[in-house]
Every structure is written in C-alpha cells, then in structure tokens.
Symmetry: C2
Subunit: 204 residues, 2 copies
DNA sequence: AACCATATGTTTACAGTGTCAACATTAAAG
DNA sequence: CTTTAATGTTGACACTGTAAACATATGGTT
C-alpha cells in the first residue's frame, strides 16, 4: 500500500544513518544499508545526497546540534566557573557516549566543512556559545577570550580521545598499562581535573 | 627474472602502505593497492597481514616510532621547560605533517591496541619518555607526574586536531570563521602558547 | 642428495561497496 | 490538463576485503 514516493525519505535516511553510525561506526555505514533499512532501492539515497561524504555531513550536523544542546550555557545569566565545569563534563560525556558520531564530527571523514555551509554553521554555533560564556565570565579582550576558548576546547577534545582509549583498553578487565593507567586516574576524578584546568585557564 | 618468492615482501608492503596512507589517507588504502604497487598478486598481503586492521596496526606502529624519535627527550641530562616546549612543538608538527598517519595512530581504525602488542609497546614508549621527563623536571609523586602528562598530552592532541581543521579551512584563502580564526591565532604563536600552557602544567 | 613440511605466492570466487546512466512514476507549476 | 521537475527503480561497472584451493620454493631431517 506504500506509494512510489516516500514523502519524507531524506529525513528518514538521516535518522537511519545516525543510528547505524552510532551503533557500528561510520566506516561500516553504507549508502546501500541505509537504503535497505528505509525500505527503498539502493540508489534512492543519491536523490538526496550527492555523495557519501554529504551524507556524513548530515550525520555530523545532527551531532553538532546535539552537542550544542548539552553544552550551551545560558549567557543571559551569570556565567560561573561551576557552569563551565558542568558544560565541560557534558562535552566529554557526549564524546564518550556518542563516540562514533564524535569521530565523524571531528575526524577527517568530512573533509572541508565549508563545502557544507549548514554543517559549518552548526559547528561554529557550538563554539560561539563558548566564546560568549568566557566573554561574560571576565572582561577580557577578544584575543584573550579566543585564546581561552581554544585552550579549553583543545583540552576537552584531547581528553575525549584519550579517555576513549582507556574505555576500550579497560573493557576486558586486563590491567591498564602505561598512559592508560594515568588517564583512567583522570577519568575517575573528572570534575576535579576540570576544575584545576579551568582555574588555570580562567586565571590565564 | 624475479623469483616466485619476493624475499622481503612484508617490509615492502608496510613501506608502501605508509606511503599511500600518508598520501591519500588510510581510508583509500587497500590491500589490493599495496599488492599491486609491490608487484605481487592481490591476495599475497594476506600471507603477512591477517586482516586489513593488522596492516593498519603496522602503519600506525611506524608512526609511533617516528613520533618517538622526534619527541623523545634525553632524560639522562637535565630536563628543562624549554626542552618540553621544543618537544611539544615537534609533537604538533608531526601531527600536522603526518596528518593521515596521525589519524591512524589516534583514531579508531585500529580498535584495541592490545591485539597488537608491538604497537602497544611503541605507543607506550612515547608516553614513557614524557613521564620520565616530567619526573626529572620536578620531584613530584607518581600521581602528580601522571596527571601532568595527561594534561599536556591531551592538550597537544587536541591542538593537533584543531590546527588541522584550520589548515584545511585556510587552504582556499577564504577568511577563516568562528573558532578557526582563534585557532590560527594560536598556530601563529605556537611557542608562546605552549610556554603558557606548560608553565601552568608545571606549576600544577 | 632425497624428502617433506612449511612458508610464501597465485588464481579464482563471492558478497559487498560507491556511483553512474537510463528509465519510471508521480507531484507541482503553467 | 499538460508539461516539467523531483523523486524513485533497474542495471551496470569497477572496486573492495577476504576465503578456498592450488603452486612453488625454502629449510630442516633423514
């Protein structure tokens, strides 16, 4: 009883792609698989995504929307270090809980965001809120604010990468070795660690 | 006049894989392509690499060896902040100049390093030198040392990721937007930035 | 020196992939 | 109501990872 035209295929394909991406990693996500999952012919997705990369871009965009949601600080109210810590924890948790999507967002699967303006906007929006937060926190120059942002951002990004390796290595119960041991140490005291880091950044 | 047996195929395959990986990214690297490039039948690599992931592991290992070479500090001599900065710059440059290999090393293409003990050792060796450096720099507890390591490491790792996005976005001469602007700001003053960061870390 | 197990190659095959071209059906615009 | 553009389908091509069966050379044991 289904009609020749789906009606809302693009949306469903993206949803499907997001699901499959997060479940099995974007490497195993295929044009054909999302087509099959959506009950449509194998090349139908090409009416909505010029290339696989552009599908990736859509998935990444959903990721950034979600990330924005959990990390954005209400800058109309007073911004505190505590809020920044909270946000930072949320950022890291997002990275850990949406690991595969996170890869898509910050990896090389989508080469140049400026080929996907909507994606670029979403990505920038996340950052913009962070910038505003720091601006509200102290009366710094634009340059200093930017500096603080990048410092925090790169730290968070780096932590996600490292904590994930810990998570993977720690799964089978084998004792952690080398750097992983220390990393898990941080993971268990994330709040404390972030407090220290943020204190450093804020004091500049 | 070539004989049936190659004699040194594994080595050549790895070399070939490293080259192709760095040139076009590991995603486009195929078992068949390295076979062809090495003038050998398409399935010959399977005599040396059980799976594609294990080939990836070998490429990643070469990467860690190279990284170790440019970042290791002579801990038999006095360790200074200056040396740590130097090493940090080298780390970041490695990440930028060997971007594709870096992805392989720190991404998800090789899932669990403990499946490749040699790789794990190489990866840990890089970290171990950093640990020793911090140990030599100040008389801290193991815990504090580990903490400092992870803080620096995640920072460096994060910076590489972000500076690369800048590099990509900045290629076509378009004005950088949002976070990229600030990131490029850091890129242009890397030494200064790292000095600040390291000062913060060392003081704890 | 003859023999044989093993390591290393090759050929063939299968199922899956991204993507293109040609065609079918429908919804929207005139 | 007809035409056009949007959206779907079929079929094809060249490529991929990898398994199975087979070929050849190497090295150790008699």
């Amino acid at each position: 009883m289904k009609s020749y035209h789906h009606g809302n295929l693009k949306q469903e394909l993206i949803l499907c792609a997001c699901k499959l991406c997060e479940e099995n990693g974007y490497e195993t996500l295929s044009m054909r698989s999302i087509a099959k999952e959506s009950g449509v012919s194998q090349t139908a997705p090409y009416r909505h995504f010029e290339t696989k990369e552009s599908l990736y871009a859509s998935v990444a965009m959903e990721g950034f929307k979600k990330l924005s949601k959990v990390t954005s600080i209400d800058t109309s109210q007073k911004v505190t270090k505590k809020k920044l810590i909270e946000t930072s924890v949320n950022y890291i948790n997002f990275g850990l809980e949406n690991a595969n999507t996170y890869d898509l967002m910050f990896g090389t699967a989508v080469g140049d965001f400026s080929n996907y303006p909507e994606l670029l906007d979403c990505a920038n929006a996340t950052y913009e809120n962070m910038r505003l937060s720091f601006a509200k926190l102290a009366n710094d120059s634009e340059e200093i604010i930017a500096y603080k942002c990048i410092t925090l951002w790169s730290m968070l990004h780096g932590l996600v990468g490292i904590l994930r390796k810990v998570a993977i290595a720690g799964v089978d119960g084998e004792p952690l070795r080398g750097p992983m041991t220390s990393a898990s140490l941080i993971g268990d005291n994330l709040d404390l660690h972030l407090d220290k880091v943020l204190t450093g950044i804020i004091q500049n």
